[in-house]
Symmetry: C2
Subunit: 218 residues, 2 copies
DNA sequence: ACCTGAACACCGTTCAAGT
DNA sequence: ACCTGAACACCGTTCAAGT
């Protein structure tokens, strides 16, 4: 490929390449040089389309948030609690599917337009749930904290530099870990080992979400 | 400093150096070469005391968790709710004081002895609160998710490569951000801007913790 | 305007020495 | 056993070219 004003690439192509690296090798694999090589271009050519690596990472987060189906979230035909469940579970599914994505999400403020749109939609749903503006705002943040926190803890137990394992295998790995806990020193932990193995599961995620919504609307 | 079997250093010294780098320059500043230079030693000398960088990071997390006052958490003289508040606020204070520490916490599983001890203690407190073993186990995880998630989101808005700013300044920065939100596109967000500026505060942290405990014990 | 080659200032880690 | 110098295979980013 010869130099010249060709504009063979685009910011979108850069983001696609970055996404591919993320999917294959985790957050550590997302490098400017890796993006360039995937695009068949010299490392510094990437800087034509993107100011720096940090911009790539936050653009990836924005892109992910843009994929959330806000129409379904806003649909007044479905009960608000069901809509919040769908949002939380959808976000979880997307974030877990891309190991290392949570780390990108937590590497900077969520202040992009898609993040704002999601927040706005969340406020509307919570208003429908009967919350006044101030509690609704606080509740929206609490929900985000829960979703992101859950996934961050899940991701912490995953091998960051590998493709994601299915949930059943990850739970099995945790079960093995807790089976090795000495019952004399940590009796309660050992007794609840089976429960604790399942913390990394959709079922526990749902349970926690319900306790949270209970606390918010009682 | 000349080579030879001197044992001038120790694993503890390595961790101290790493902690100093973390405090001064955030997570990105914690490098093997930085540790070595801080100890006045060649980069590879560090590998005499520590197998690799990942071991340094998880040891830092373990050290932090070891600083939690489990005796105060277990003290049956204080009401359990107050004890949980103290634990959560204490963890938050420590983690916020070291910018980048949350990223270390989230970079691997919390399966060290101090993490287990903290979990065990948490289970005991929740049992005192009247929860059966299984709900207690789930609740303990939910609490950890909340604390870690809150701090991770707070840290995401902090400059990772700089010493921590006081809470008041961070809230002020957020206020400026939300004041710039266009009210026509995001009316609810703009209306609740003042509330949302305070999400990064001890007060919101307390509020969320109380909603959580409400949901867990109702 | 867009791309290249070369370079700069970094990484983590390894390996063959020296004492 | 412990440390060193040198090296390897990487980073992100910049800069002076070439077309």
């Amino acid at each position: 490929m010869r130099p010249g004003p060709k504009r063979t690439l685009s910011e979108e192509a850069v983001l696609d390449a970055a996404m591919g690296l993320l999917a294959e090798g985790g957050a550590a694999a997302v490098t400017v040089r890796g993006i360039a090589s995937r695009l068949g271009v010299a490392p510094n050519a990437v800087y034509t389309y993107v100011p720096n690596k940090a911009a790539v990472l936050s653009a990836l987060v924005e892109r992910l948030l843009g994929e959330v189906d806000l129409k379904a979230l806003a649909d007044p035909a479905t009960p608000w609690r069901r809509r919040l469940h769908a949002l939380a579970l959808g976000l979880r599914e997307r974030l877990i599917a891309q190991p290392g994505m949570v780390h990108l999400l937590l590497s900077g403020p969520m202040d992009g337009p898609n993040a704002l749109a999601l927040g706005e939609c969340l406020l509307a749903v919570l208003a429908e749930a009967g919350l006044d503006p101030e509690p609704a705002a606080r509740a929206s943040y609490l929900l985000i904290v829960y979703v992101v926190g859950s996934i961050a803890l899940e991701a912490a137990e995953m091998d960051a530099d590998a493709p994601p394992q299915p949930e059943a295998e990850r739970v099995a790995a945790r079960r093995a870990t807790f089976a090795a806990v000495p019952a004399d020193r940590f009796p309660r932990t050992a007794a609840a080992a089976e429960t604790m193995a399942g913390f990394i599961s959709t079922e526990q995620f749902r349970w926690g979400l319900d306790r949270l919504l209970d606390g918010l609307t009682r």
